[in-house]
Every structure is written in structure tokens, then in C-alpha cells.
């Protein structure tokens, strides 16, 4: 806490599109009052001022190279609370797609040719694989309403309150027609809710960007796939879009379906 009673927060980014930080800028459009509760001391994308005395660190992006680990260790050392912001930080996100390519060296050479060695990289990791993380805000990008809710909860010393039930719950509440029943692939039954089922609401099946729920019901998933006339292979690729790092977890689900 500072003399003005505002909690000092900082934003950091690693390998990512910075879309989650942008979503926070957008969240301020309707929640300028957040700035009455927190003081942002570091947010490179949006401001020049820089303070190192932050209490809460929001970290966007995945760790994809050794030299970024040091920055993460420093953040962990300073911050009382580290929050993983968005899919890249939380699950590894799309950055981890390179992990499921046949060879990392091949991926590097494909993009940078004979200069591949100039570009340091290792298999993508969510930040929780490098440092302890106190909370996470899932999604690609994060949901701005959920961000505001988590910040308020954290400031009140409460748990962030991220749902552990599947997207289907939110989809039903919105009275959407089930896309699986229309024969469209959707990971809603096994994916963590909290986004208001935005993709199914806009006619696109869930791509799983918020990660799997803690105990996915594989039997139910199997039933809905059967009912939809979809084969497992038709949705397997979708499972890895944002969850390639969780390959083992995905394979367990796959085996059980």
C-alpha cells in the first residue's frame, strides 16, 4: 500500500500479442473507477513512467527463451501477488503450437532459414512452469468483465472466482442453440467457462482458449460427439490450438473419449 492507499500494480509482457493488455485499456473505458483503487506503476505498452515498487504483477505472455526467465524471477521476487494474464501466460496459448511440430529446429529454420541460430527459443511454457503464480485470468484474449471482477476480488483479499464449470452452462443460460447438435465442432463441454460463451454465441464452436475444466467429463463429451455425428479426430486438432503445452492432459482426455 502507498500513502494514497492505492495498491501499486504493474503489467509485464512476454511472448504474446499484447491483446490482453489492450483489453485492459478497453476495460478502463467503462471502469475508470479502477484507477481510484490501484496505481499503475509500470505498463510499458501504454506509459513511460516506471516504478519498481509494485505489489501486484500482471504478466501477459509465455516464456519462450532462457533469457526471459530472469525477468520472471525478478517479478516474482518483488510482487506479493503474480497474476497470469490470458492464455499465453496461463496455458502457453498458441505459442505452444511450435511444441507439437515435429522439430523445434525445423520450425526455427522454416522461419529464419540459415539465420535460425540468431533467434533464441526453447519449447514454450506457461509462466507457472517458471515461477509460482497466485492467480490466473484465462482466455484469448481475457474477458474484460472478468478482469475487472478479478481485480476487485483480489483487492478485497478474496479468491479471484474463476469458474470451474464448463462453457455449456453459460451457453445454456444464453439460450443458444447447441452448435454440436448442428454438427459443428465445439469444445464447450470440457472448457472452463467465464467468457459468457462468446464464440458459440457468435456462431463459432468453442476453441478451448480458457483451458480444460479441472475434471472434464469425458463420457459426456463422448455422448455429445456421438449425438452430433462427429468423430474424435474432427475435434482433436482444436484441442491443441491453445492447449498444446498440456499435451499429456489432452491425451488423457482423448484416451477416455
Amino acid at each position: 500500500m502507498t500513502t494514497n492507499n492505492k495498491v501499486k500494480v504493474a503489467f509485464f509482457d512476454f511472448a504474446s500479442c499484447e491483446g490482453c493488455q489492450l483489453t485492459i485499456v478497453d476495460a478502463l473505458q467503462t471502469h475508470l473507477d479502477l484507477l481510484d483503487m490501484v496505481e499503475i506503476v509500470q505498463f510499458r505498452e501504454a506509459m513511460t513512467e516506471k516504478g519498481e515498487d509494485y505489489v501486484i504483477a500482471f504478466v501477459e505472455g509465455s516464456c519462450t527463451r532462457k533469457c526471459d526467465e530472469e525477468r520472471l524471477f525478478k517479478i516474482r521476487e518483488q510482487a506479493a501477488l503474480v497474476v497470469a494474464l490470458g492464455a499465453c501466460a496461463h496455458t502457453g496459448g498458441v505459442n505452444a503450437l511450435k511444441n507439437v511440430q515435429p522439430s523445434l529446429q525445423d520450425v526455427r529454420e522454416y522461419v529464419y532459414g540459415d539465420k535460425a541460430d540468431w533467434y533464441e527459443t526453447y519449447p514454450t511454457r506457461p509462466i507457472s512452469a517458471v515461477i509460482d503464480v497466485d492467480a490466473f485470468i484465462p482466455g484469448c484474449p481475457i474477458d474484460r468483465g472478468e478482469f475487472v471482477k478479478v481485480v476487485k476480488n483480489v483487492l478485497l483479499g478474496k479468491t479471484p472466482g474463476i469458474p470451474d464449470y464448463p462453457i455449456c452452462v453459460e451457453c445454456k443460460l444464453k439460450e443458444n442453440v447447441c452448435l454440436l447438435l448442428e454438427g459443428q465442432p465445439c469444445l464447450g463441454p470440457v472448457t472452463r467457462a467465464g467468457c459468457g460463451a462468446i464464440c458459440p454465441t457468435y456462431g463459432e464452436g468453442c476453441e478451448g482458449c480458457r483451458g480444460l475444466i479441472p475434471h472434464p467429463n469425458e463420457n459426456a463429451m463422448k455422448d455429445v460427439l456421438d449425438e452430433a455425428g462427429l468423430k474424435l479426430e474432427e475435434i482433436m486438432s482444436r484441442f491443441t490450438m491453445y492447449n498444446a503445452y498440456q499435451k499429456e492432459q489432452i491425451e488423457t482426455v482423448e484416451e477416455r473419449i
Binding site: 473505458q29 519462450t64 511440430q101 522454416y110
Partner: protein, 428 residues
């Protein structure tokens, strides 16, 4: 004589990480460069072997600010490869969505990232106390453009409904009517924006270069068209490599490009210079107020060209909505895709300039991918600008030199995440 050593590690108020290094001894510049130190992400490498209908949703994640631009260009390239023809309604909706992103990105850049420099502020946050109405106006325009994207595709950052073959969602007639009212109301905010940016004391710095953009016969080009350069070259989009000629640089995790003179510039100023005649009359008025008439060779005025484009896109969005309403909104899904093997290239002129996506598909899976991002194409031009500017300002106080260089970098509105990700300034 002046000896300067400036090292700006991770330039702020830009998207991604980059450093500026300036080294001068006895008034002579020994080194002046911009390093991109973003962690590379390898999109082209990892979209291979993935199904065609995932690609534009994955490549959207190249950039959170221009995700509509990436998603649109990617979908178009895939559609070209698979021989997919969009409906007229989907084509109009894509243009409308695109305008939403141009306004969104330009308001972010001009108001949030550039304006603080002119008010002596470190960010937009202290501006709330210095000039609250200006910040509130920026927030209003930002919200409007975000909402415009949301009614078409669900949200601006990583649009949901934009898929290969069109859209999985169509806005309702009433949503478009409501949006039209808001866009008309926003004209006042646009007028005030033009007035604000016309009143700023823009740094004076001229350097003629080659300006590269898309062009079209019938409209100010954003979505598709031909490649046009101010040095008189024209190419079909499929021949983009004749313009880009990519190469690697040791200090940079982004690839650089070169054309006729070597470096060239892309972005709002390039579009403004190449396609000025096709701007909406109100946008031309805005240009006149800003004192801009092609050929504008002051790089700092790239932000001025963005203000002009905001006016254009607002007016053209109203026109597109009128056209959609007149045609009558059809609740249609994407067109049916018949998978075939093939290669496809597409280009859009996204907020920061001309963008290319190029893929090859076999059995519905992506086998080859190449994406050439606007910011990468600007690095050579930025280096040339820095090379000319630094000696002109080197005798000024170090803080002033540093600010001028940072402002120059910012004028490009670099999106380093796109190119890979990072920016730093070093003064010695």
C-alpha cells in the same frame, strides 16, 4: 563538440519491445539504430499441418491491435487458395469491420500513445488531470470503434465470427441502425480530434522516401487491391516478394525488407500519399486543416494521416451501413467450402501498413505459410530516418534528442509483437 551515448531500453508506448541506440563522439554519429528484441514466436512454422479453418483464428493472435487485419488477410489468402467466393454482404461486412479496426487502432495510437508527448505527460493517465475532456473523447471514440467491431464479429481483439467463407454471425438490422446513429453523433468528436491534432506543434523533419501501399480503382484501399509505390511501381498482390525482398539483421528478431531505393515506408502516410484522391471529402478537409497535401515527407505526420483516415473510415462506415440496410440484411452463414489443393496470397492495408499472408494447402491442411508484417517493412525506413535526424539534432540537450528519437519511433506506430515483439533506445 557533443558526445552522446543514449540507450533507451524498451521504448515505451509502442506495441512490443525495441531499443534505440545512439552513440556520438565529438558531434559525429558513430552508431544510431533501432533494435527489435521481442521474443520470436514462429507463427509461419507452427501453422503448418493445421486445418484451413483454424489458420485465420491462429494468425489473428499475431497481434492484439490489428487482429482484424491479420484475420481478414489470412481468411482471404485461404479463400484464394481454396477458390472460395464471398457473398456481397460478407464483403461489405468485412470492410465495415476493417474500418472499425482502423479507427480503433488509430485512436489508440494518436490519443493514447502520441498525444502525451505533446502535453509533456508520460502516458494518457496523467492527461486525465491535465485535459479530461480530451481523454474522455478518446475513450468514447475507442468504445465506438470497439462496439462497431463487436456487432459484426463479436469483439475487436481476435474477432470470433470472421471465418473462411464469410461470417458465422450477421448483425441484426436494428444493431446497424443504432450503430449508424452513434457514428453520425461521433462526427463531432472527429471534428474536435482534427482540431486538436491540427493545433499541435509537429516536429519538422523531411526525408523523401518510397511510399508503398495497396491501391484500388474504385475506393481508398484497405481490403485487397494492387500494390502501388510512389516511385511508380505496381504489382499484383501475388508478386509481393518483388517489393518485400526480406532479409535478416543481426540486432533484430524481425526480418527487414527492401525495394527500389532500399528502404521504403508503409502505413497511413503511405496510403495518404498514394491514394489521396479517393479519400472522403470530409477527410480531405481534415487533411487541409492539418496542413497536409501529398506528397507529405515528414514522418512525424504519419499520425496526422491517421487522424485523416479516422475521419474517412467513420464516413465510409456510415455509407456501408446505408448500403447494407438498403440491400436488406440476410441472416446467412459462411459459404460452403470445397477443399482443394492450392496456393493463395492476399493483402490488406492494415492500420500500420501493407500486410501479406501467403499459404499453400494440401488436403485441407496448411503446408506452407508466409506472413509479411507492416512494421518489419518500416524498419529500414526508420533506420534511414534516424540516420538523417540524429545529426540534425545532436547538439540539442540529451533529453530532447532522446525524446525526438522516441517520438520518431512512435510515429511509425510500430507493432513489434506483429513482427515478433520488442523495442529499446540507447544513447551514449
Amino acid at each position: 563538440m557533443t558526445s552522446v551515448n543514449i540507450n533507451v531500453h524498451h521504448v515505451t508506448r509502442v506495441e512490443g519491445h525495441g531499443n534505440i541506440v545512439l552513440n556520438a563522439k565529438n558531434g559525429k554519429i558513430e552508431e544510431c539504430r533501432f533494435d527489435v528484441v521481442e521474443a520470436p514466436r514462429f507463427f509461419e512454422g507452427f501453422v503448418r499441418d493445421r486445418p484451413y479453418n483454424e489458420i485465420n483464428h491462429i494468425t489473428s493472435r499475431i497481434c492484439g491491435i490489428c487482429s482484424v487485419g491479420h484475420s481478414t488477410t489470412s481468411a482471404m489468402a485461404t479463400e484464394n487458395a481454396l477458390g472460395v467466393e464471398l457473398t456481397e454482404q460478407a464483403t461489405l461486412l468485412r470492410k465495415l469491420l476493417f474500418h472499425g479496426e482502423i479507427i480503433d487502432s488509430h485512436v489508440l495510437h494518436t490519443y493514447y500513445l502520441v498525444a502525451p508527448d505533446f502535453f509533456g505527460a508520460g502516458s494518457v493517465i496523467p492527461l486525465i488531470n491535465i485535459n479530461r475532456p480530451v481523454v474522455e473523447r478518446a475513450l468514447r471514440i475507442k468504445k465506438l470503434s470497439g462496439d462497431l467491431c463487436a456487432i459484426v464479429a463479436g469483439r475487436h481483439t481476435h474477432p470470433v465470427a470472421l471465418v473462411v467463407g464469410g461470417f458465422t454471425h450477421v448483425p441484426k438490422e436494428q444493431e446497424l441502425r443504432d450503430m449508424r446513429v452513434r457514428l453520425v453523433d461521433a462526427r463531432e468528436d472527429m471534428d474536435a480530434s482534427v482540431e486538436l491534432f491540427a493545433s499541435l506543434d509537429w516536429p519538422k523533419f523531411e526525408r523523401d522516401t518510397e511510399y508503398v501501399s495497396l491501391t484500388k480503382d474504385d475506393e481508398y484501399a484497405f481490403v485487397g487491391g494492387r500494390i502501388k509505390t510512389s516511385d511508380g511501381f505496381e504489382y499484383p498482390v501475388e508478386e509481393y516478394q518483388k517489393v518485400t525482398n526480406e532479409y535478416c539483421m543481426p540486432h533484430s528478431t524481425a526480418k527487414w525488407t527492401k525495394h527500389n531505393r532500399g528502404e521504403y515506408m508503409v502505413g497511413a502516410l503511405a496510403r495518404f500519399n498514394n491514394n489521396f484522391d479517393q479519400l472522403h471529402p470530409k477527410a480531405k478537409d481534415a487533411a487541409a486543416q492539418l496542413g497536409m497535401e501529398p506528397l507529405v515527407t515528414n514522418t512525424y505526420l504519419n499520425s496526422g494521416a491517421q487522424v485523416v483516415e479516422m475521419v474517412h473510415c467513420l464516413e465510409d462506415s456510415i455509407r456501408i451501413i446505408d448500403e447494407l440496410l438498403e440491400r436488406g440484411i440476410k441472416q446467412e452463414g459462411p459459404v460452403e467450402i470445397k477443399v482443394r489443393n492450392g496456393e493463395g496470397t492476399a493483402s490488406c492495408d492494415v492500420p500500420r501498413g501493407i500486410l501479406f499472408h501467403h499459404y499453400n494447402y494440401e488436403d485441407g491442411l496448411c503446408t506452407e505459410a508466409n506472413c509479411i508484417i507492416p512494421t518489419n517493412q518500416n524498419y529500414g525506413n526508420l533506420a534511414a530516418d534516424m540516420g538523417k535526424l540524429a545529426p540534425q539534432i545532436i547538439d540539442q540537450p540529451q533529453e530532447k534528442v532522446r525524446l525526438m528519437l522516441e517520438m520518431l519511433v512512435r510515429a511509425y506506430d510500430p507493432c513489434i509483437s506483429c513482427s515478433t515483439h520488442y523495442l529499446t533506445v540507447d544513447f551514449v
